[in-house]
């Protein structure tokens, strides 16, 4: 982690005025891409992710088909203009890894066995990155899957937590991500109480690590409620 002399928590407030446990202003909207079977736009502050879902549809080439289950494909991609210095197009190693763990985060929520020989494709584009992009992407993907009517055991909620100036903070923004002591992105099935994505980097004691995981799970309720609200809104209009 990089070091900075700048204080990122002053008098109990973070640089954008949030309290340590506050999530940024969330915006969630489903059905934003007419061509897709399901889609969603999700933002946490400036971090914005757009997800679309196609499928379950027949998987080609056919030799990739599995006779006893459907497959999930997940593509996390950062737009070239989503970051300060233009991102080179095409999948980086970081994006390949994030796509893998995010797919694994969503699979437990789906009944893929009911759709043998098919694939569900989830494409997520990070339009603007200001920290916590992989969990923002997961929220968008969760909503897009639900919007597509893909049967789900639970919604999948993504949220990050970390340690900043010795304090546990929730939903790290870019600058906090760069200078924090640790960053833990989590995906969670709230009704099932199942953690499906868990990563961490930084420096923490084992006890701090355990505490942050619990605090993120606790705070994820708000994100879950926001997802439910977004889905309801589509059908009330």
């Amino acid at each position: 982690m990089m070091k900075t002399d700048e204080k990122l928590i002053i008098k109990g407030k973070r640089i954008d005025g949030r309290k340590p446990e506050d999530v940024r202003k969330m915006k969630m909207e489903v059905g934003v891409i007419p061509n897709a079977e399901g889609s969603a736009l999700v933002s946490f502050g400036k971090t914005t992710a757009l997800a679309s879902v196609y499928g379950p549809r027949p998987l080609h080439p056919r030799h990739l088909q599995e006779s006893d289950t459907g497959l999930l494909r997940y593509k996390y991609d950062m737009a070239t203009f989503s970051v300060d210095e233009r991102k080179r197009p095409g999948p980086s190693r970081r994006e390949i890894e994030i796509s893998k763990v995010s797919r694994e985060a969503l699979e437990p929520a789906l009944f893929l066995k009911k759709f043998p020989r098919t694939v569900v494709d989830v494409f997520v584009e990070i339009l603007q990155a200001d920290g916590s992009t992989r969990v923002t992407a997961i929220n968008a993907a969760s909503l897009a899957l639900a919007d597509a009517g893909v049967p789900m055991r639970d919604l999948v909620v993504g949220l990050s937590g970390g340690m900043l100036d010795g304090k546990i903070v929730i939903d790290l923004m870019g600058k906090e991500d760069n200078y924090c002591d640790a960053d833990i992105p989590i995906a969670y099935l709230p009704s099932k109480k199942e953690i499906t994505l868990l990563q961490m980097d930084g420096r923490l004691t084992p006890e701090e690590t355990k505490k942050i995981v619990r605090d993120v799970l606790h705070a994820s309720k708000k994100v879950y409620e926001k997802q439910v609200e977004a889905l309801k809104k589509k059908y009330s209009e």
Partner: protein
């Protein structure tokens, strides 16, 4: 099927090879098997066999860290190591292994990258850590992380001549090392936790959590891999196992002669870091 048998045994807290659930296979560490590399190590965990080589090259620093050397970690799943490995560019599994090894080294600040700056903003040492599995029988992340650490501990700096030519004939001093992170992967299946899974065991795991822990018991990285879910209590247990096992494995490397020096250094700088 073998998978069912593995699960049946685990219910009785037994494993195919007779190990306890929290027991690693025999680990053998060979230091510097590759003479042409600046540092190298070969680690065997049971039948898993992996070679890591370190090469130092000149390069330009990242714009946001103009005064620091650069770490690059790669892993190739060579088709020689397993019938399921295919030729071609690294796939998502190889990419994940490389990136998890990388994070353990990077986040623990194993390498004193600030001492690898030659000319701020212009010229720094690039440390390339490349892992080559020779035989894959599971747990490549732990074996690869251990081999990377041992290789870095054994890395000697080449001499930089006036004209920026790298003289690898004359090696000057060791790569500056801060910490000794050990990665322990804990697998979960049917409510049981086990360490150091073999290839066969990996196939039945619901999920696994790789946790890198330093000599100060600091957790520096975690990676959940596999689509099975975990509860918050599971995570607690897995962290505890990793902290305990990391100490045992670290003993294996600190017993060696070559690492005693860097270990002493690590403790010293570790303290000053905590103080700052």
């Amino acid at each position: 099927m073998k998978s069912n048998y593995i699960i049946k045994l685990l219910e009785k807290n037994e494993r195919l090879d007779g190990r306890k659930l929290d027991e690693f296979r025999e680990i053998t560490i060979e230091k510097n098997p590759i003479e042409r590399a600046e540092g190298s190590a070969r680690v065997k965990m049971g039948k898993t066999d992996i070679i890591v080589g370190v090469k130092l090259e000149l390069g330009t620093p990242y714009p946001d860290t103009p005064d620091a050397g650069v770490l690059r970690t790669g892993a190739e799943f060579n088709p020689m190591a397993h019938p399921e490995f295919e030729t071609g560019p690294p796939g998502e599994d190889a990419t994940e292994v490389a990136r998890v090894i990388d994070r353990g080294i990077r986040e623990s600040e194993t390498i004193k990258v600030e001492e690898l700056c030659i000319e701020e903003g212009e010229k720094v040492w690039m440390v390339y850590v490349d892992a080559y599995p020779i035989n894959h029988d599971g747990n490549l992340i732990d074996a690869g992380s251990l081999a990377s650490l041992v290789a870095l501990n054994s890395t000697r700096m080449p001499k930089l001549e006036e004209d920026d030519k790298i003289n690898r004939e004359e090696l000057k001093g060791s790569l500056p090392i801060n910490h000794q992170p050990i990665t322990v992967t804990v697998g979960k299946v049917n409510g049981k936790f086990l360490v150091d899974p073999t290839f066969e065991e990996e196939k039945v795991l619901e999920t696994k959590l790789s946790i890198a822990v330093t000599e100060e018991d600091t957790v520096v990285s975690m990676q959940k891999s596999g689509n099975g879910p975990l509860s918050d209590d599971d995570v607690d247990k897995m962290i505890d196992v990793a902290v305990k096992k990391s100490k045992e494995i670290r003993k294996l490397i600190s017993n060696g002669k070559k690492t005693t020096k860097s270990k002493a250094k690590a403790n010293k700088s570790g303290k000053s870091k905590d103080g700052s």
